[in-house]
């Protein structure tokens, strides 16, 4: 009789609060081992063919069974590899689509596990780009220009075809020490140790089943680049262990592979995870160790949630797309849940990091980041609760998450950091509304007619709105960058402001200089005097109004900006935006 993995309530609660100790992560990891066995069983059902790939899969399957019997730990090592997860998911999807599958890769996986512990075998394995890939260990260059070759291990010696023979122990990940055969390219292994806590992680640059993160994997790292990654990860580990032990300790059990990504531009920082590869985090080169540490915390949150979602459904399918304060696009409910959970981790990161920083700008960055994401989580949690898509477990998870965020957010953040974070968040929300909120044209026309006739705003009028990918084009990237630069790159921000050569419109320049009253007048004139729609100026006007003392107009601009814009457009422009906003308020 089969039992199911159990998840203690305490572990569920700890995960919901953004944490989870090593024992909790081990529970997620163990469930992944079973999931991978499930996937292997499903693939086995489709591998009865007489082709070479099917035969190699069956041989690998038989080898893994022997490994499990001989050395259960080695079997678990293989089943825990994110490489296996990536391959098995792709394989199943391709089987369902009736597409060709790479069944032979499983022989490579099983061979890697056998070589690692000295279990004898004799297999045919695929050769790709002249190499036999041994996931989790490295790859072997073979001379024969063949798609397949024989790979054997007698328990001590590994031979490949007629050309290669070496002690199996030399076919190991590259820990920076010399001694491997020249045909062998070990996967870079990084061991980071801080305050007695060790983290062993592979830097995977060659496996096609971990090349799955939209951006390309960084292949062919030079020795210098590799050393930079080693140093960077060790420095980030120091930060995590010293100030964020709540995240570092479980990361030891949960993250075994880092996949370096190549971004489109050197100025982009991109990171990603996938539920198909539990235990792997992909990231492009981060500028400093604190940013890398934050990225690891962020992505580890996603890894944990993916593991939990495999075990416990938190969401029903369906639901409308919604606003996520960290994304430019409307997000499905599942995407918002992932984002909220990641940002709870980020918030906890900055909560501690603010006390670790000593430089004034670094402290500001930490405090403003804490203020920004701390303020974002509560509303996002309410959005999740209102979608009707959460299961009972999901409702409980989100309630615990929200409560933890509320507790953490209650700490004092200096006014300056709070104000900078608030303005960046408001800019994001306003820009998102203008970009994505569509309004009912007939109802907007009725309102415009009422305004034209000098009537009062119809009591209770709530024109219908919905979301679209791009309702209006917004081009305020420079203003947005500067608002974020105030806390993310304060020195650069001061430098740009000081040299006065910012490529901004005059109203934007006044806004950035916090000459708020003048900025309001300038935006107002720009909108009223121009017959063409000015979505960027409407956002700027809303931002400038929020720099002034509180007034009822602020709420109208913050919550009904798309409607204001559309009614104004329907009136043919050349109407004072503040007069119209007053009418709508």
């Amino acid at each position: 009789m089969i039992t199911h993995h159990l998840l203690p309530e305490a572990a569920f609660n700890a995960l919901a609060e953004g944490g989870g100790d090593q024992a909790a992560i081990q529970l997620l990891h163990h469930a992944q081992l079973s999931k991978h066995l499930m996937l292997l069983q499903a693939i086995a059902g489709a591998s009865a063919g007489t082709d070479r790939g099917s035969a190699a899969f069956r041989a690998g399957f038989e080898l893994l069974a022997r490994i499990q019997a001989t050395d259960p730990g080695a079997g678990a090592w293989l089943l825990g590899l994110p490489h296996l997860g990536g391959w098995a998911h792709d394989c199943l999807i391709r089987l369902d689509q009736g597409s060709p599958t790479d069944l032979g890769y499983f022989a490579c996986l099983a061979a890697a596990a056998a070589i690692r512990v000295g279990v004898p075998f004799e297999l045919d394995v695929p050769v790709r780009h002249g190499r036999i890939r041994l996931p989790g260990l490295g790859s072997l260059l073979v001379a024969a220009p063949s798609a397949w070759t024989g790979l054997c291990c007698d328990g001590e010696q590994v031979t490949a075809g007629d050309h290669f023979a070496a002690d199996r122990r030399l076919l190991a990940p590259d820990d920076g020490l010399a001694g491997a055969p020249q045909e062998w390219s070990g996967t870079p292994a990084i061991r980071a140790v801080a305050d007695g806590l060790a983290w062993n992680v592979l830097l995977e640059t060659g496996d096609s089943y971990l090349d799955r993160y939209t951006l390309p994997i960084s292949t062919g790292l030079s020795p210098a680049e590799l050393q930079r990654w080693r140093n960077h990860l060790r420095s980030a580990w120091d930060v995590l262990v010293r100030y964020h032990r709540w995240a570092a300790e479980p990361m030891v059990a949960g993250i075994s592979v880092i996949v370096p990504l190549t971004p489109h531009s050197d100025t982009d920082l991109v990171s990603a995870t996938t539920p198909a590869a539990f235990g792997a985090i992909a990231t492009s080169w981060p500028p400093d160790q604190v940013t890398l540490a934050e990225t690891l915390v962020h992505e580890f949150q996603h890894v944990k949630l993916c593991g939990l979602l495999d075990m416990v459904p938190l969401l029903e399918s369906g639901g409308e797309k919604v606003y996520a304060p960290w994304r430019q696009d409307p997000r499905p409910v599942g995407g918002l849940l992932q984002g909220v959970y990641a940002h709870l981790g980020i918030m906890r990161f900055w909560l501690a990091q603010q006390h670790a920083e000593t430089g004034q700008d670094d402290v500001l960055r930490a405090q403003a980041s804490l203020a920004r994401w701390g303020a974002a989580i509560g509303p996002a949690v309410r959005t999740l609760q209102e979608t009707g898509c959460l299961t009972q477990a999901g409702l409980r998870f989100v309630r615990l998450l929200g409560a933890r965020a509320g507790d953490e957010a209650s700490g004092a953040v200096p006014d300056e950091a709070r104000e900078i974070a608030g303005e960046a968040a408001l800019d994001h929300w306003l820009t998102w509304q203008i970009r994505h909120v569509a309004t009912d044209a007939a109802e907007v026309a009725d309102l415009a007619d009422a305004y034209r006739r000098g009537e009062r705003f119809p009591a209770g009028a709530q024109p219908r709105t919905w979301l679209q990918e791009e309702t209006r084009k917004v081009d305020s990237a420079m203003r947005t960058r500067l608002l974020n630069m105030r806390y993310l790159a304060a020195a650069r921000y001061r430098e740009l402001c000081a040299d006065g050569a910012l490529p901004l419109s005059e109203p934007d320049r006044l806004l950035i200089a916090r000459r708020s009253g003048e900025a309001v007048r300038a935006y107002r004139a720009l909108i009223a005097d121009c017959a063409d729609p000015q979505p960027d100026a409407w956002i700027g006007l809303a931002l400038a109004l929020h720099q002034l003392p509180a007034s009822p107009l602020q709420a109208t601009f913050a919550t009904r900006l798309a409607l204001l814009f559309d009614v104004h457009l329907c009136l043919g422009g050349r109407v004072d935006p503040l007069d119209l906003a007053g009418w709508l308020t």
């Binding site: 089969i2 199911h4 993995h5 159990l6 998840l7 203690p8 309530e9 305490a10 572990a11 569920f12 024992a23 163990h30 469930a31 081992l33 079973s34 999931k35 066995l37 499930m38 069983q41 499903a42 086995a44 059902g45 399957f61 038989e62 069974a65 998911h89 199943l92 999807i93 369902d96 799955r212 939209t214 971004p263 100025t267 982009d268 920082l269 991109v270 990171s271 990603a272 995870t273 996938t274 539920p275 500028p287 990225t295 992505e299 996603h302 993916c306 495999d310 416990v312 459904p313 399918s317 992932q338 420079m478 960058r481 500067l482 974020n484 790159a489 650069r492 050569a501 910012l502 490529p503």
Partner: protein, 64 residues
Amino acid sequence: MTSQQQDLKTLIPDLRNIPLDRLAELGSSALAQSIALYRERLRENGITLSSFQARILLTQPDPD
């Protein structure tokens, strides 16, 4: 950790102690149901990334 009564039963069958070559013998059991359920999820959702975070590094670029 809390008592057994408070454990959540999950969707994943615990296969860790079942030898790989005996999994097939469980073919028509709860394992088959779990596999079918998981494949159904894959068919519905595909394998989307659980996260894809893209940020512009504000310290390096010139704004112009």
